[in-house]
């Protein structure tokens, strides 16, 4: 399944720019993202071990089903003002909500 999705990435990237370099960089980015996020999820064990296991399993499931993640992330992180403002306001809302109601 994972290998298949790598092939898919290769196909997708190969369409717009036909250099080996960009294919390999997207793959490397994908691997880095997945491995770092999984390792970061292990850190939840300091709060609650069950939560950590559930989150890791959820992440694995999420990664295997939506495998070519990097193109999506790149699309979300582009330079248009609307997306930047959207993420800024989303972060502000989450921060205030968590700090005000969550941890009291």
């Amino acid at each position: 399944m994972v290998v298949n999705s790598f092939k898919e990435v290769k196909m997708k990237v190969a369409k717009d720019s036909t250099t080996n370099e960009s294919v390999s960089s997207v793959l490397a980015a994908e691997l880095t993202l997945i491995s770092t996020l999984l390792i970061a999820a292990i850190m939840l064990r300091h709060f609650n071990i069950v939560l950590a296991i559930v989150v890791i399993l959820g992440l694995v499931l999420f990664f295997t089903t939506n495998m070519p993640l990097m193109p999506k992330i790149k699309r979300e992180q582009d330079d248009s003002l609307e997306k930047m403002v959207f993420y800024a306001v989303l972060t502000l809302g989450t921060l205030i909500t968590i700090i005000y109601w969550g941890l009291n």
């Binding site: 980015a29 880095t32 800024a88 972060t91």
Partner: protein, 497 residues
């Protein structure tokens, strides 16, 4: 010589205003700029540690004669201890950072004077003004004063982008200003909440009020204030969700001003981060929040850097990713880790400045920074290529450079604090950083030269080569003798916890 403390801010501001007046007198501007740029790193070395009260208004308790004439509800209460004036506090940490900032400012101004054909007064003004603003951020012991200079620094950064005539700089500047106008007033609002709870904006007073239980630090006023100030900090330092705009700002500025801009960002990150840490360290979830944002910054910064094709953008994202290391140092929150984080901040200012100036020579030579269009430049200038390669080694953490020492300290402190996962991520991210750097290096210097690549400027100015070499030597010295830096940091950190 305590009088020198305000001069660290006043001299660059005065020089900037003077340079603006000397419009079109090129040699005068050049000489004045170089002289003041040399003076900038020297003042912090000469000045003594201490506090400076503006207008001489010391706390009432230090003036018993005045205290007697006041009503008893003032002289008996905490008001007698509170600071009535804007206070600058100058310690070993401020000395170190102002010195490093001065060095980077000197090399940025030095190279820009030699690379740009027309010396522009306003450009020099913005550079000096930004340096002054960031210095004031470091020195100030007052959250409102910090907000003012934070806004001035933001305006200077926008100005620097506007002056460097690159493609689409106006669009990026307007985006940054709109985001900043959402972040800035919210920071002001957070300061208002803290002011409403404590009645003072001086940081020592706020900490005193919290420690003496004069206010309830878990009240919702304080929590909202904390959230808004934290949001302002995220905007100021370019942590996610502001990493895209920050990296695009670096890529739209001219390379030497990008070197200065990133040092502004790092210093702002440190100054405001330490203030947040000092005031709110009683909150149990503060460290978790800082850790989460730094980890996201590291992961997103490095993964986005891999898939870019513009070298300046790659460096911009890498610079954001490296900020995550400093954040991790703050977030773990032990003495060793904070020392390591601040050490990493010093190293990052120097190394990223080196890389921006070094890769900037490519932009200077060919007027292009797209990796697809570049190649084979090692024959043009092998000396710079080797020095940039060594700079990349320093960034990735290869011994004997300084990046190795600070990253080792961060990994060690994470292991000691019981977070082995963080150290694994740190190692992984630094390996990927190295890979990204080598990819950029290969496609700029090593791969065969494309046919349509035209060289605009034949020779790189000697001053640029000199700046890169000196920065590299400083990196090497700090790498070999890390005590030079850590000895300045550790007394401050010991006072912090």
């Amino acid at each position: 010589m305590n009088e020198l403390i305000p001069l660290m801010v006043i001299i660059p501001i005065a020089c900037g205003l003077l340079l603006n007046l000397l419009h079109k007198k090129d040699t005068a501007i050049k000489i004045l700029a170089i002289v003041v740029a040399i003076v900038l790193p020297i003042i912090p070395l000469l000045s003594n540690y201490g506090l400076h009260y503006f207008g001489g208004h010391a706390p009432l308790i230090e003036n018993p004669i005045l205290l007697e004439t006041l009503p008893s509800q003032i002289s008996q209460s905490a008001l007698a201890i509170f600071h009535p004036a804007i206070t600058y506090s100058y310690e070993s940490l401020q000395k170190l950072f102002i010195f490093v900032l001065g060095i980077v400012a000197f090399f940025a101004i030095f190279t820009s004077l030699n690379e740009t054909k027309k010396v522009s007064g306003p450009y020099m003004f913005l550079m000096f003004m930004g340096t002054a603003a960031v210095t004031a951020l470091l020195l100030s012991n007052d959250i409102f004063h910090m907000y003012i200079f934070f806004e001035i620094a933001a305006l200077c950064q926008v100005g620097i982008i506007l002056v460097s005539s690159t493609k689409e700089n106006y669009e990026t500047a307007l985006k940054y200003m709109i985001l900043g106008s959402i972040g800035g007033p919210l920071l002001l609002l957070g300061i208002g909440f803290i002011l409403g709870a404590v009645g003072s904006v001086n940081i020592s007073d706020i900490i005193y009020a919290i420690n003496q239980n004069l206010v309830n630090p878990f009240s919702q006023t304080f929590l909202i204030g904390f959230g808004l100030i934290l949001f302002g900090w995220l905007y100021a330092s370019g942590l996610p969700p502001f990493h895209t705009i920050k990296s695009s700002i670096y890529s739209k500025a001219l390379p030497h001003s990008a070197a200065l801009l990133q040092s502004f960002t790092v210093v702002t990150f440190i100054a405001m981060g330490l203030v947040i840490f000092r005031i709110f360290s009683y909150l149990p979830f503060l460290k978790v929040i800082i850790l989460v944002f730094s980890l996201i910054a590291m992961i997103l910064g490095v993964t986005m850097a891999i898939i870019q094709t513009d070298i300046r953008r790659i460096l911009g994202f890498l610079a954001v990713g490296e900020l995550g290391y400093i954040g991790i140092g703050l977030g773990i929150g032990t003495t060793l880790s904070i020392t390591a984080g601040l050490f990493q901040a010093v190293n990052e200012i120097l190394i990223t400045a080196l890389l921006f100036i070094g890769f900037g020579t490519v932009f200077y030579l060919t007027n292009s920074s797209d990796t697809k269009k570049l190649g084979g430049l090692i024959t043009q200038n092998p000396k710079i290529a080797i020095m940039v390669l060594l700079g990349g080694f320093a960034m990735a953490g290869v011994p004997p450079f300084n990046g190795f020492q600070s990253k080792l300290m961060i990994i060690e402190s994470a292991l000691k604090a019981g977070f082995p996962e963080i150290s694994i991520i740190a190692v992984l991210v630094s390996i990927v950083t190295f890979m990204v750097f080598m990819k950029a290096f290969y496609s700029v210097y090593l791969k065969p030269k494309p046919q349509d690549l035209s060289i605009v400027n034949e020779n790189i100015p000697k001053s640029t080569i000199l700046s890169i070499a000196v920065l590299l030597i400083i990196c090497l010295i700090i790498g070999l003798f890390p005590q030079l830096v850590t000895d300045n940091i550790s007394p401050f950190v010991a006072g912090l916890i």
